[in-house]
């Protein structure tokens, strides 16, 4: 049985939803045109993951195995609809930007994946931490990719912050490169694929030295088990 530290590290790095499991690519690639869009969808997915993991862990002894999948889908769909309604009531600007991608969270395989693989077999505390770390891991990939594509494609960062943080945030936009004509490829879908590919490659490069030195791995495992 894994402890909380391992669960956290799994979600954030080792078994990251976006970079390792490669789940939920449709929203990941579609909305990461800017940092703020990535942050918005990331937060919505994070809340969905935590809520669905907790609920499914709570009912895990109640649900018979043969109907578990439809029940999971019901739970996830209800949670997402509630989030969608809340967003369009309180964050209308952002809702208009992310509009069609919010219902799509239902189809994000990582959510039912975590429900089936983790939440339905673990207690509420673990399921909560798992949802939180998986969601955070996904959110980090979304904002990194969004930030990269925005910087390369438009030469700005945090544009559209007012959609999330109110009118005062209109001034948050950083212009990295003045008078930049833009690099369209980064904004278009191919830029999303290329950017994600580069991020995955980067993760593999970072991990490789650790794999070459077995002693280091053993030490790391010992440290996380403690």
């Amino acid at each position: 049985m894994s402890n909380y530290g391992t669960i956290m590290r799994d979600g954030l790095w080792t078994n990251n939803v976006g970079l390792v499991q490669l789940l939920g690519l449709c929203p990941l690639l579609a909305v990461t045109g800017t940092f703020i869009n990535g942050l918005g969808l990331g937060l919505a997915t994070l809340v969905t993951l935590v809520a669905s993991n907790v609920i499914i862990s709570l009912i895990r002894n109640l649900v018979r195995p043969e109907v578990r999948i439809p029940v999971f889908v019901l739970v996830i769909a209800s949670v997402v609809t509630v989030i969608e309604l809340t967003m369009s009531a309180y964050l209308y600007g952002l809702y208009k930007v992310l509009g069609i991608f919010i219902p799509l969270i239902v189809t994000n395989c990582s959510i039912i994946g975590r429900a089936e693989a983790f939440a339905s077999k673990n207690n509420v505390g673990r399921a909560f931490v798992d949802g939180l770390s998986m969601g955070l891991g996904f959110l980090l990939v979304l904002v990194t990719l969004g930030g990269l594509r925005e910087a390369v494609g438009q030469g700005t960062l945090f544009s559209g912050a007012h959609l999330m943080f109110g009118e005062a945030a209109r001034t948050w936009t950083l212009t990295l490169i003045g008078d930049y004509s833009g690099f369209l490829l980064a904004v278009l879908p191919p830029g999303a694929f290329i950017g994600l590919g580069l991020l995955i490659a980067l993760k593999n490069v970072i991990e490789r030295p650790a794999q070459r030195r077995p002693a280091a791995v053993a030490l790391k495992d010992a440290a996380s088990a403690a």
Binding site: V67, V71, L74, S78, S88, Y90, L184, L188
Partner: protein, 210 residues
């Protein structure tokens, strides 16, 4: 006895379905008014950009009729027309037509036509045109859309309602002709519709607010 597990499963599934839809219905009840208010405010903001608040005194959001004209308004569905009045006199009609031939699907527009047939202005409500190229039709990204202000079917004449590449007077963008071509055509068609129906638009009773 063999049916027992099946029945239990069915009841469980039913209970979860009831719980789930109950939760959604509860949330819907609690947010519906606020969401409607958000939509109203967002649309009013766009409307007021076209017809300034001091030029009308009626409740423009509810003084609305629906018209149909697949040919000129870009859709078979009813198109809303918001009517601005001052002291009961017609000021402008604001159409929400579609430009059906954008580069990537429909472009939803808001076209405000003053009583005399000149444009008070045009705005884009929603589109899926290429970011960085076609999205210059948004007022936040470029001033192109403001070029419609004050135009009418007499100025320029009907045959000049085209982008420059097609021999008309409206600018296209570098690398994107299809998008402005679609918008220019949709605005022209709306003006044609207004010329054909004009005054009668203000005489109909408002449709019940939906």
């Amino acid at each position: 006895m063999r049916y027992r597990p099946i029945v239990i499963s069915a009841v469980l599934l039913f209970l979860f379905a009831v719980l789930g839809s109950g939760l959604v219905a509860f949330m819907h009840d609690n947010t519906a008014a606020r969401i409607a208010e958000n939509q109203r405010r967002a649309l009013l903001r766009s409307l007021n950009e076209l017809v300034p608040r001091d030029q009308y005194d009626n409740d423009i959001y509810t003084d609305i009729i629906y018209v149909r004209d697949a040919e000129l308004l870009g859709t078979r569905d009813p198109v809303p027309v918001y009517r601005a009045r001052l002291n009961g006199w017609p000021v402008a009609a604001v159409f929400a037509p579609l430009a059906p031939d954008g580069y990537n699907g429909n472009i939803r527009l808001l076209v405000a036509v003053k009583m005399d047939g000149t444009l008070a202005g045009v705005r884009v409500l929603a589109h899926r045109e290429t970011p960085g190229l076609g999205d210059h039709i948004e007022s936040e990204r470029s001033d192109w859309i403001l070029g419609f202000n004050g135009k009418s079917l007499r100025h320029p004449s009907v045959e000049n309602w085209k982008v420059k590449r097609d021999g008309g007077v409206f600018d296209q963008f570098t690398g994107a002709t299809i998008t402005p071509r679609a918008v220019v055509a949709a605005v022209k068609n709306t003006l044609l519709y207004y010329r054909a129906h004009g005054q009668s638009l203000f005489e109909k009773h408002p449709a019940k607010a939906s």
